[in-house]
């Protein structure tokens, strides 16, 4: 068997027959191998970075491995951003690229680059294959590593001569993978004991809370999480990656926390006395200033994660639990059900049930029917209307920046893998190709790409990909003519010195004309200038047969708030007027005893700062 035949067979045997890729000199033997092969489908993109993001989006939407293939040198270095993006969001991606022949490696041959070196720190594992007899093993091993334990991208560097060489092994593809150094540890006896300790803490706490991270989605533990919440009656705040792990309209779900979190979420985490962190890595966007996290200095932290190295990395942990989340939550539920069945152990001391409704009602999604001060649409309006039209199986894929944060705040997501966003790396240009990957994975789901005008332009060439491959996605360009998030920081922190964040010309004209652009690629679109046209345009997109582009003309200087001041505690905020505020300006500290509870109301004032009408002053 030739090297490329082995690869093709491994892909087919494992059911990974959808590839995203771009050909070139050193990967030609592989492309020749799959030519005319009906069992393998390759989506030809227009830039290798997009191949990587599409594979990543495919993986996130399907829960399966995403596969991408490129040529050597620039083809492979173009993948680096996509691999880093998949790495920081723990997405299972297999990437392989051609390489110059083994006899040329190290000679600085044409289109040679040290991509093993380039990808080393942004992959879970990487390989360069120098012997055709290793091709079968390495590909199988790579798939196993990418999809087990904490998932992540794996990269394979594949010299041209190895692709063409004949393997002389009786069994070119080994039956099983033996890796003594890698044991994706899932559950242990010790974890059960720790879970007992965790339940002791949670059931005795007054204000326990759950942080749901992306690990819930990766472990498919959404049902277990919901059951746990329903039994414990304690609130859930989630990370950007954890959105979708529990329905947003669940009475105990408060929304995203952290840097751009909901006020009520950051209030709840600041007041919690026990934090059950599930599959989150306590990134700086979650904790704010670590000196003030958790908000209650005596709060106990229970951290469940499959990756030992995440536990204790950023915050000290009282009860560490290294486990697959699904198995861990099973154990939580089984122990909890036992306790609840026995009246002597059934008491849950949480007081949240008294205030949760009031918190949940606070600060819903505003429907701003008026135009903004410059006569354009207020961004919240777009998200309000999108939320109305979204169905449970629709998939929302975001770019990065303000639009991403509006969507994360307000969109009601019911199911895991219907929310796809670049969290760790924050990659502008991720959303559109990832949306393509998501659509390929879930052809029956409507895919909505929520993009800013800046992000969209980072990979807009993929309009050709959707046209050529008949892929239907709905693109919403939230055009405020700025790199909005950076402009917002400049407004709040750099005295409105808008250094190179305006994307419009000096005379105020804006290019590209996104509708002409769509037209150039043979696609249709619509420009929306008034608030009352938003809903109709979204409906038009849903009904369209092909990719449909909507350009929403937005208030140029609208801010995504709340926002933590950089380096600030999770309880601090910029208000809509750009003033630094405390979360306790909005909410009263939770009562800790009955006398404090007497006549207590969560909402301290109805601060006008929080009112969307600040826009119109």
């Amino acid at each position: 068997m030739k090297g490329t035949e082995i690869i093709s067979k491994v892909l087919k045997d494992s059911g990974n027959t959808t590839l995203f890729g771009y050909p070139g000199g050193q990967i030609m033997p592989f492309f020749d191998q799959i030519y005319g092969d009906d069992e393998i489908r390759l989506i030809l993109v227009r830039h290798e970075q997009a191949a990587g993001h599409a594979a990543d989006g495919f993986a996130r939407a399907s829960g399966k491995l995403g596969v991408c293939v490129t040529t050597s040198g620039p083809g492979a270095t173009n993948l680096v951003t996509a691999l880093a993006n998949a790495y920081y969001d723990s997405s299972p991606v297999l990437a392989f690229s051609g390489q110059v022949g083994t006899h040329l490696i190290g000679n600085d041959a044409f289109q040679e680059a040290d991509v093993v070196g380039c990808t080393m720190s942004v992959t879970k594992q990487n390989y360069q294959i120098k012997d055709v007899n290793n091709v079968g093993r390495v590909f199988k091993e790579a798939m196993y590593i990418a999809t087990t334990g904490r998932p992540g991208p794996v990269f394979i560097d594949l010299p041209r001569d190895i692709q063409q060489a004949e393997c002389n092994l009786a069994e070119p593809i080994p039956e099983t993978i033996e890796l003594i150094s890698y044991n994706p540890r899932v559950f242990s006896k010790g974890a059960s004991l720790q879970i007992k300790r965790a339940l002791d803490l949670i059931m005795n706490a007054q204000y326990p809370i759950i942080i749901a991270g992306g690990g819930i989605v990766l472990a498919n533990a959404q049902d277990e999480l919901q059951e746990l919440v329903n039994l414990l009656h304690i609130p859930v705040v989630y990370t950007l990656m954890g959105k979708g792990s529990i329905p947003d309209d669940h009475p105990y779900v408060l929304g995203m926390l952290g840097m751009h979190g909901r006020k009520r979420s950051n209030f709840a985490i600041s007041e919690a006395d026990v934090i059950l962190a599930l599959g989150t890595r306590f990134s700086d966007r979650i904790t704010g200033d670590l000196a003030h996290f958790p908000g209650q200095p005596n709060a106990k932290i229970i951290h469940v994660d499959i990756d030992t190295a995440e536990i204790g990395k950023n915050v000290p942990v009282d009860v560490p639990i290294v486990a697959d989340l699904k198995l861990a939550l099973h154990e939580f539920l089984s122990q909890l059900n036992n306790r609840l069945a026995d009246p002597s152990t059934a008491t849950i001391n949480s007081w949240w049930y008294r205030w949760i409704q009031e918190l949940k009602d606070y600060n819903g999604i505003p429907n701003v029917t008026k135009e903004g001060p410059t006569g354009r649409i207020v961004p919240e309006k777009v998200i309000f209307e999108l939320n109305n039209i979204l169905q449970a199986d629709d998939i929302v894929v975001t770019e990065v920046g303000q639009a991403q944060m509006y969507a994360a705040h307000y969109l009601n997501r019911q199911k895991p893998r219907t929310w796809i966003s670049s969290g760790g790396l924050g990659t502008m240009g991720f959303g559109f190709p990832a949306g393509i990957g998501a659509k390929i994975a879930k052809p029956d789901s409507e895919v909505w790409i929520v993009a800013g005008d800046g992000s969209f332009q980072m990979n807009l060439h993929e309009l050709a990909t959707v046209k050529q491959n008949d892929i239907k996605v709905n693109i919403i360009i939230m055009n405020n003519q700025y790199l909005g998030m950076v402009r917002q920081w400049q407004e709040l922190l750099y005295d409105k010195r808008y250094s190179y964040t305006c994307l419009a010309c000096k005379d105020g004209t804006y290019f590209p004309d996104f509708l002409k652009l769509a037209d150039a690629y043979g696609l249709e679109g619509v420009r929306v200038e008034k608030p009352d046209e938003v809903a109709g345009a979204l409906e038009q997109a849903r009904k369209a047969d092909a990719t449909f582009l909507i350009e929403m003309l937005l208030e140029p200087e609208a801010n995504t708030l709340p926002m933590l001041p950089p380096g600030g505690a999770v309880s601090t905020f910029f208000s809509r007027r750009g003033e630094k505020k405390s979360i306790y300006d909005w909410f009263a500290r939770l009562p800790r005893n009955e006398s404090e509870a007497n006549g207590y109301k969560v909402e301290r004032i109805t601060p006008e700062e929080d009112d969307i009408n600040v826009y119109f002053e």
Binding site: M120, S121, I180, S181, Y182, A309, K313
Partner: protein, 171 residues
């Protein structure tokens, strides 16, 4: 282990190209410090033994060990506690000597130190080999430097094995 915040870590790793880069790259990327590193074959073909002396407080060392565990090419990781570990380092020291008397004095010092010997002599230089703990090496080098002028030094980095039955061997 002369420094307070130094910790010795023993590793068993696959003997593949690029494995060293994965380990040192991890240290560099995460801002950890390597005080010394030594690599060689292990008792088992296909596997190398690495001894790293890392710098950091308790939390940092814990994180270093966890991150090393995470590398797929790393088979075993062992924190080698000084009280349970034999630690050795070798050094080659080349000195300029001004006259016979100086040379004679250095050779006397070599005789006194267990683990030191002369391995090369010329009219102007003398090269010594010395093995021992880091502290012993330091004190020996300091002493001979008072007699001759140090021209160059090559040190092996630390080698360490845990005492007694315990090991990170795969057997």
């Amino acid at each position: 282990m002369t420094e307070e915040n130094h910790v010795c870590i023993g590793l068993l790793v696959y003997d593949h190209p690029g494995v060293m880069m994965k380990i040192t790259g991890m240290f560099a990327r995460r801002g950890f410090n390597i005080a010394s590193i030594s690599v060689g074959h292990s008792e088992r073909p296909g596997f190398s033994r690495i001894t790293i002396v890392a710098e950091g407080d308790e939390d940092t060392i814990e994180q270093i060990i966890k991150q090393l565990h995470k590398l797929i090419d790393v088979v075993k990781v062992q924190h080698l506690e000084p009280s349970k570990t034999t630690i050795r380092e070798a050094a080659l020291v080349k000195l300029n000597v001004r006259d016979n008397a100086a040379r004679q004095e250095i050779m006397t010092l070599v005789d006194i130190y267990r683990g030191a010997k002369v391995i090369d002599v010329t009219s102007k230089t003398i090269t010594l080999e010395v093995t021992g703990s880091e502290a012993k090496l330091e004190s020996f080098i300091e002493l001979v430097a008072e007699v001759g002028t140090i021209k160059e030094i090559a040190r092996s980095g630390v080698l360490a094995l845990i005492r007694g039955e315990e090991s990170i061997s795969l057997e």
